[in-house]
């Protein structure tokens, strides 16, 4: 041990290296048995240990990945072959690994030789090679597939587009179906029903002839009707429906497709349909077999209004901000007293206060190292899903973070003004009010605003684990694949965070 320490000092002082323990040839041989051992015995200690550790960790990781890929096969040879087949990069890494092994053996030879010559500079090529193999292995373990990223990006674009520009979903237009109908008699009778007439202003349809027979069950085609329509809205498709004598409505199908027609620029259309097959209840009196042909068009009526998703997002965004604010408020109130217990300059009086100081500090560090998301999960176990769980989680984390920052502000106050105020004959209270508080207010305000900023950011995602707020909504919409609605939530979060970022930076600048 002592010897190694001395050697380290020698290295630092750049003194010539002592000769290797073993001749170059033996060194090479040793590295063949245990890679790195030769280098260690050639007094290239750190190099040897790095080689030893990396060689075995690379070997271990490689074996693990090969086993992962080919574990369905019992025989080792087939397992390896299958693994190489499935993931050719493993073959490349294996080849490099063998090369690495050979390089290490050669390196051991030269390391010993150089040590004997008193030099302590070894090439860094091997180290770069080690790193390269390591990261290549990382590439395989990380399942990195750049090609997929680019090839799939195209198909993902529409979805991303909905996410990025979701505003169509923000507005709802109340719609109404306009039904224009014409009557048809079936079967034909002597007494005809009058044909509709073309109207000047309102939409109309004229069906001719005004009587016919439906398609039979054996496939005999029904009467072909010609429908002429006018004064329809030009921007919406028209669907053709039937209302049978029973009063049931159904859509006209032709060759398996629903019949749709788009009006021309004047709002006129023309279409031919074949009267479909329909079972008519026998209770209907023969005389009144009046059918109705309908042209249905979707019309927007009334003012456009904000969609349900949009208003829900607004509500939840408000809830989110409130969660962040409440957590900050509770955090500030609870962390101020704790911060005094965690300030070294106030707590170094005696053994007891020092113990309290270390105890509080340790607890704060533990609480702070647990993410708010974990705290939220714990809180939901206690109080169930909802904003209260989020508030608890953020409060706990805020207390720990703020108490630490506040206590550091207390620790760094300038003793000078305190001394000066005391010298005027001020009592304890006056000293605190005149010398201590003016010094800690600016950092306290600054840290509080910073925390408020963090809490609102955090409250946007705390809903992912059930802590209420917009995160809950966002997660739901993503799972329902409603990317437009999710996009609205994302936009709200982004806007809020941007505003917050600006405001908090401005306020903190003022209190520097």
């Amino acid at each position: 041990m002592g010897k190694r320490k001395m050697n380290k000092q020698n290295l630092k002082a750049k003194e010539p290296q002592k000769p290797s323990f073993v001749p170059p040839f033996i060194s090479s041989l040793l590295s063949m048995v245990i890679p790195g051992l030769g280098q260690i015995l050639a007094r290239a200690y750190s190099r040897g240990f790095i080689i030893l550790a990396s060689f075995f960790s690379i070997g271990g990781l490689l074996a693990w990945r090969i086993y992962q890929k080919g574990r369905r096969y019992k025989e080792i040879q087939t397992m390896v072959e299958k693994a190489f087949d499935l993931s050719p990069i493993l073959l490349v890494i294996t080849i490099l690994f063998v090369l690495l092994y050979i390089w290490i053996i050669i390196d051991a030879y030269f390391a010993a030789k150089k040590s004997n010559r008193g030099s302590r500079s070894y090439g860094s090529g091997l180290m770069f090679f080690l790193l390269a193999v390591f990261f290549l292995l990382g590439w395989q373990i990380g399942d990195i597939n750049i090609g997929e990223f680019f090839s799939q990006a195209g198909t993902a674009l529409p979805t991303i587009g909905r996410l990025m520009w979701p505003w169509e979903k923000a507005i709802d237009r109340p719609e109404e179906i306009q039904i224009i109908s014409a009557r048809v008699l079936s079967p034909c009778q002597e007494q005809q029903i009058p044909q509709n007439e073309a109207l000047e202003e309102e939409p109309y349809i004229i069906v001719s002839p005004t009587c016919g027979s439906p398609t039979e069950i054996d496939g005999t085609s029904g009467t072909e009707f010609a429908i002429v329509g006018g004064n329809f809205n030009t921007d919406q498709e028209i669907e053709i429906w039937w209302k049978d004598p029973n009063g049931n409505e159904f859509r006209q199908r032709q060759a398996g497709e629903y019949v749709k027609v788009t009006p021309d620029d004047e709002g006129n259309f023309q279409i031919a349909i074949i009267m479909p097959y329909r079972i008519i209840s026998s209770t209907i009196e023969e005389k009144n077999l009046i059918w109705e042909v309908q042209a249905r068009q979707l019309l927007s009526v009334g003012e456009a209004q904000l969609s349900a998703e949009f208003t829900l997002a607004v509500e939840k965004m408000i809830e989110t901000i409130i969660i962040g604010m409440m957590a900050t408020l509770f955090g500030v109130i609870l962390s101020i007293p704790i911060s005094f217990l965690a300030a070294r300059n106030l707590m170094s009086e005696n053994f007891f206060t020092k113990t309290v100081y270390y105890f509080v500090r340790t607890i704060l560090n533990i609480v702070r190292s647990i993410e708010p998301l974990i705290w939220a999960i714990i809180a939901t176990i206690v109080v169930g899903l909802g904003p209260f769980a989020g508030i608890i989680a953020l409060t706990v984390h805020s207390i720990a973070a703020l108490a630490k920052m506040y206590s550091e502000a207390i620790e760094s106050i300038d003793q000078g003004p305190i001394e000066a105020i005391q010298a005027t004959g001020a009592n304890w209270t006056q000293t605190i009010v005149y010398a201590v508080i003016p010094q800690i207010i600016p950092p306290f305000v600054s840290f509080t605003i910073y925390r408020w900023d963090i809490n609102i950011r955090m409250s946007t995602v705390i809903g992912f684990v059930g802590g209420g707020g917009i995160g809950f909504l966002l997660q739901q919409w993503i799972r329902l694949l409603d990317y437009r609605a999710a996009g609205i939530a994302v936009w709200f979060i982004a806007i809020t965070v941007m505003i917050l970022d600006y405001v908090s930076a401005e306020i903190r600048e003022k209190y520097k």
Partner: protein, 262 residues
């Protein structure tokens, strides 16, 4: 007026700051304490108004032993002794006026002072002091917006608000350039001569000592190694100078009467 008897201060870490220091200060004196950094000047000044608790010895203020007084008694003694600091020790974020008013805390009850409620007389007094020190244009500025010389004037104004019988000045000009140093010291000199306030001041530069001191005490490693009057210091020899400032020290004050610069 003030008598220091066998004063010793040993800090918790074992540093001996003052060793058996005794001297007397008479009313109206401008006593200057010289010595290297760490020689115990600051400790000595802070022992006088008990910002630092002495380990042994006595401090007698106007015939009264104030070494162990506490609470209201200590408060009443402290307000009679103004203090000025090297780094001014103003509350940076408070206004000049508030810093000056703080000098009146020793006379104000705790509750009104928390609400910054000072009497009309106190306010008038503050304006007079501020006028006298020529900082009337700065009163609403934050203390850290002022230059060093102005900050030290605020420090003096704060001390004057106490109606002090004595002013302790701990290296009041060490953070200032020579021109400002003279201006601040002449402020103190005026107080000494016109208002008959006793001044105890620690200084570094010998030329300033010669110009302002009516009496000088030299401290080295916590003991008094030199004591002399104004005329004594003009005749100070290199040997005496080195006794205070150490063998390697060179005189910074330039030519002194009768002795060439080293």
């Amino acid at each position: 007026m003030l008598e220091i008897k066998n004063l010793t201060k040993i800090y918790d870490d074992g540093t001996v700051a003052l060793k058996n220091v005794s001297f007397v200060v008479n009313e109206g004196e401008f006593l200057v304490i010289i010595g290297l950094s760490g020689s115990g000047k600051s400790t000595l000044l802070r022992c006088i108004n008990r910002l630092i608790e002495p380990t042994e010895g006595k401090i007698i203020w106007n015939g009264k032993d104030i070494t162990h007084i506490k609470g209201e008694e200590l408060r009443c003694v402290r307000r009679e002794i103004g203090m000025v600091f090297q780094h001014f020790n103003l509350v940076h974020r408070s206004s000049v006026l508030k810093n000056v008013m703080a000098g009146r805390l020793g006379y104000t009850k705790a509750f009104p002072s928390i609400l910054s409620k000072f009497s009309e007389a106190d306010r008038k007094k503050a304006m007079q002091v501020i006028d006298r020190l020529e900082i009337e244009d700065q009163i609403h500025k934050r203390a850290d917006e002022l230059s060093g010389g102005q900050q030290q004037r605020v420090g003096i104004a704060r001390a004057l608000m106490q109606d002090p019988k004595m002013i302790l000045a701990d290296e009041p000009v060490a953070s200032l350039d020579p021109v400002l140093a003279h201006s601040i010291l002449s402020n103190l000199e005026k107080l000494n001569q016109e208002d008959k306030m006793t001044v105890i001041c620690s200084l570094h530069y010998l030329d300033l000592v010669q110009r302002y001191a009516s009496r000088v005490i030299g401290l080295r490693e916590g003991t008094i190694v030199y004591e002399g009057t104004k005329s004594d210091i003009r005749k100070m020899t290199d040997a005496q100078f080195k006794e205070i400032y150490g063998q390697e020290a060179e005189r910074v004050g330039g030519d002194l009467e009768g002795t060439p610069a080293v």
